[in-house]
Symmetry: C2
Subunit: 223 residues, 2 copies
């Protein structure tokens, strides 16, 4: 058990180092030996967890999906809003999420398959919007996969614009504006009227999710 | 006159070479000597037009704004749709536009001010939407600058997603979907009903604009 915990911690140390190096140098220019130096682990330890630079990058990319989960909501439209607003909040506050998003948006990393996060986020959105459709939250003409792709693609650009213009300071405001522009075209009015699209939503959901995750850790340790 | 034309052509040759080198190596790694070799011009000729690598990058960034102009439309909402759809068409077909957009989205080019294109496109959208508002095309609660920023930011991400997923093959479809999702929240129904948001709109506008630009060249030569 202690050994397993140590392995998890080493993996996390390596991923944090990789995130930092990719962010500083870009995917193309970054080297495994820079990541080794930054992480302060042995070559053996690194190759136990990751087989290549691409593997390390995919590890960083996957981190943005996994670590924090939005609580289930009765309204699936609110749940997708919460996923989006939580991601905006984490971009403002978590260097690992930022590194993953920058890798995703690195159009010069041509040897790296960057489609993964777009497709995975698209799937998350698609699933939630299908549930929303099943319980009558969407307007009749809406295609859940098309609307999910519009939200995922638009979010990617809104964050990039906010980063370029002011290093993410206005991000939650811009994302809230995106939601107010896209959702009225897709959601029935009675659901729209009950949504929380406020700028502080991301921070609220984050606090809630971390609390839920903390309880989950206790459950895991007991198991 | 012949000398002036030659200077314009040399500048264009250098910009095309710079676009290619930035696209291959990224802003950070690209060097002026690579651009010199690619362009096949003398050091003197290059420095006559551009003072630094940043200057070259700003030249590439500016190209996406200037070369082709959308014809004036009675509906200013249609005009902004035409600007967006034309840009999607040019991304699919023009390497210089592609290079400019990639530089804009290069979150690793930290020493390069990439806010310019976002702010310039935001200004274009803002102005058109203010005209749309003045002639009663927008819903009463809409803020032209906020809606313009949503469109510009979203477009940037939609193009990035299309590039990552399928090298721009589905771009016009995705951009048409974006317009169908954003405009109903901002535009009065009678205007909405008369908009052309079809996937072929960009190609149509391009043909029209090139024809108009051709005539403009003749006018300039005569002057």
């Amino acid at each position: 058990m202690a050994e397993q915990l140590r392995a998890i911690r080493t993996r996390q140390t390596i991923l944090s180092a990789a995130a930092k190096i990719f962010e500083e140098h870009g995917y193309q220019a970054a080297t495994i030996s820079q990541i080794l130096t930054e992480a302060g682990v042995t070559k053996g330890a690194l190759y136990f967890h990751f087989h290549s630079k691409e593997d390390l990058a995919q590890g960083v990319l996957a981190e943005q999906d996994q670590r924090i989960v939005v609580p289930v909501r009765p309204s699936k439209v609110q749940e997708i809003v919460d996923v989006v607003m939580l991601q905006a909040h984490r971009l403002q506050t978590d260097p690992m999420v930022r590194a993953g998003v920058r890798l995703t948006m690195d159009q010069l990393a041509q040897s790296l398959d960057r489609s993964g996060p777009f497709l995975r986020w698209g799937e998350v959105g698609h699933e939630l919007l299908e549930q929303a459709q099943a319980q009558g939250e969407l307007l009749p003409h809406i295609s859940p996969s098309e609307t999910a792709d519009v939200i995922v693609g638009s979010f990617a650009g809104i964050q990039s614009m906010s980063q370029a213009v002011c290093e993410y300071r206005d991000l939650v405001g811009r994302v809230s504006a995106l939601m107010r522009h896209v959702l009225p075209s897709a959601v029935v009015p009675s659901v729209l009227a009950s949504l929380d699209l406020s700028e502080s939503r991301g921070a609220t959901v984050y606090a809630e999710a971390v609390k839920a995750a903390g309880m989950q850790d206790l459950v895991d340790a007991a198991g």
